[in-house]
C-alpha cells in the first residue's frame, strides 16, 4: 500500500524533482541498511525479553513518528529542506517496518494452526498484493508528480491506521500463548 518507500512511484517523483539515478540508488541502499539495522535491533529487543506484541507496537509507532516528519516537511516552503525531511523520514521509518515485519511473521508462525498455514499465508499475500495494486491505481488517478502530497498523505494515514489496528487488535488483547 505504502508509496513511502523507495519504490517506483517515489523514484519517479524524485527523478521529476531533479535527483540523479545514482543518488536514488544510494538512498535505496541507505534504506536497506536501516532495515538491516532494524533486524539487529529486533534481536536485541527479543533477547531483552520484549514480547512480540509490544515490539510490533513500538515498531509501528516508530514508523508513524518518522513518517510524521516526512508528512509535515511537505509544508516547509524551502523545497530542498522539505525533500530532505521527506527522505530522512522515509529512511528512518524502515527500521520500524522491518521490526514490525518480523514480529507479525513470528506471531503468525506461533498462532496459526498447522492445517491452515498455507491458506493464511496465501491470503496474507493476496491482501498485500491488493493494497499494492491499489497504490498503483492511485498512480493512474493522480499521475502528475505535483500531486505527490496525496500519496504521502495516504501512506501516512495508512500507517496510522495500522498502528491503531495493532494497538486495539493485538497489543491490548489477550496475549497469545508463549513458546518455551
Amino acid at each position: 500500500m505504502n508509496v513511502l518507500t523507495f519504490g517506483p512511484i517515489m523514484t519517479a517523483f524524485l527523478v521529476s524533482e531533479g535527483f540523479s539515478m545514482s543518488l536514488i540508488g544510494v538512498l535505496r541502499g541507505v534504506s536497506c541498511m536501516m532495515g538491516l539495522f532494524g533486524t539487529f535491533l529486533f534481536k536485541h529487543l527479543s533477547l531483552m525479553g520484549m514480547s512480540l506484541e509490544s515490539s510490533g507496537f513500538w515498531a509501528v509507532t516508530f514508523q508513524f513518528t518518522c513518517l510524521s516528519l516526512s508528512y509535515f516537511s511537505l509544508y516547509i516552503l524551502d523545497s530542498l529542506q522539505s525533500l530532505i525531511g521527506l527522505i530522512v523520514g522515509v529512511c528512518m521509518s524502515r527500521v520500524g517496518l522491518w521490526i514490525f515485519d518480523i514480529s507479525i511473521n513470528q506471531l503468525m508462525q506461533i498462532s496459526v494452526k498447522e492445517d491452515v498455514r498455507g491458506i493464511v499465508g496465501g491470503t496474507q499475500n493476496a491482501i498485500n498484493a491488493f493494497m499494492g495494486v491499489t497504490a498503483f491505481a492511485l498512480g493512474l488517478i493522480f499521475p502528475d508528480p505535483s500531486d505527490f502530497h496525496i500519496y504521502v498523505l495516504t501512506g501516512y494515514l495508512a500507517v496510522g491506521l495500522a498502528a491503531t489496528n495493532w494497538y486495539f487488535g493485538v497489543y491490548r488483547k489477550q496475549p497469545l500463548p508463549k513458546l518455551s
Binding site: 533486524t39 507479525i104 498455507g118 499465508g121 496465501g122 498485500n128
Partner: protein
Amino acid sequence: MIATEQCLGNKSGVGERSKLLNGSNGCGHNEQQVANGSLPPLPGNECEEIQQIRRILYCSHAIAKFAERAWQFSISIFLAAFTGYKSLFLVSTYGLFSGLSSCIFGSFMGKYVDRTGRIYAAKFLLLSQNSLVILATICSFLLLSHEPKYFHANQYESDSTSSAFILWLHSRVNNLPCDSISIFFLLIIHVFGVAANLLDETFQVAIEKDWIVVLSQHANNRGLKQAKYLTDINVMMKQIDLSCKLLSPTIVGIGMAFCDLRVVSILIGILNLISIVIEYISTTKIYEKVPELAIKIRSTTELLPKSQQQKERNQEPSNNYCTKVNGFHTYVMQPIVFGGISLSLL
C-alpha cells in the same frame, strides 16, 4: 555468491553471541530443564546437526533470493528495453498482472500447500518457478536479439475515420513492438514471469510459515528453546532477504553497465539454473534430516475414507472465487487477523 558469503559471516557472529548468552553449553539449553535433570545434556553431534540444518536453510534461501531479486530487477529493465526505453507500458502491465495474479490466486495456491505433502509441494514449487524463469530469460534473449517493428501512433493520425477513443488507444501503445514474433514472445514473458512470481511467493509461504515452524519444533524436541530458535531463524532470513535486496540489483546493474543486455539475460538464466540445483539439494537434505517434516496434519476432510472424501469434495464449492472467499474466511478466523491487516497497510 557474495550474498551467501556475507550471510555466513553474519551467521557466525550471531552464533557466538548466543553462545555467550547461554553460558557454557553453547547450545541454547533451557537452563531450568537442565538444572532439574529432566533433560540429558545435548550430545555435541546433535547440536551440530541442528546448526547444520540451519546453515543449509540459509544457503538455499540466500541463493534463491539472490536469483529471484536479480530476475525481478532485470526483467523490468528488459521490458523497458523492448520498447527502446521509450515507453513504460510493458513495465506497468507486467507489474499490474503480477499484483492481480497473487491477489486472485494467492489463497488458492496456499490451499495447495496445505493439501500436499511438504516435500512434494516444495519440489514442485521450486522446480516450476525456476524453470519458468529460465524459459522467460530465453525468451528475453531471443527478443533482445530480434529487430522489432515499432508501432508509431502518428502514422494513424491522418486517418479521419478513427474515433477519439481509438486515437487514445493508439497513443497508449505508442513505441511498442508490433510484429507478431515480438507480441508472441512478450505474451510468453508476461505469462511465465507472472506465474513464476506467484509460485515463488507460494514457496516462500511454505518455507517461512510452515517449514521453519516445524524446524523449531524439531529443535524444541531436542531441548532447545523454541522461541529463541524461531527468532534466530526469522532474523537471519530477513537479513539474507534485505542483503539480497541491496546487493542483487547493484551487481546486476554493474553487469548491465559493462555487458550487453543479451549477455545479462543468459547470466540470469544460468544463475537460476544454479539456484534450482542448490535449492533442490538443500530442500531434500533438510527433509531427510528433520523427520518431523514428514508428519503433516491436514484438514479433517483429508483424514476421511476415499469415498467420503470424494463426497465432501463434490459438495465443496470448487471454483476459484469460492476458494478465495473460503480462504478469506479462514484468514478472518485467525486470532492474529488484525496484525495481518496492519502489515498489509504498511
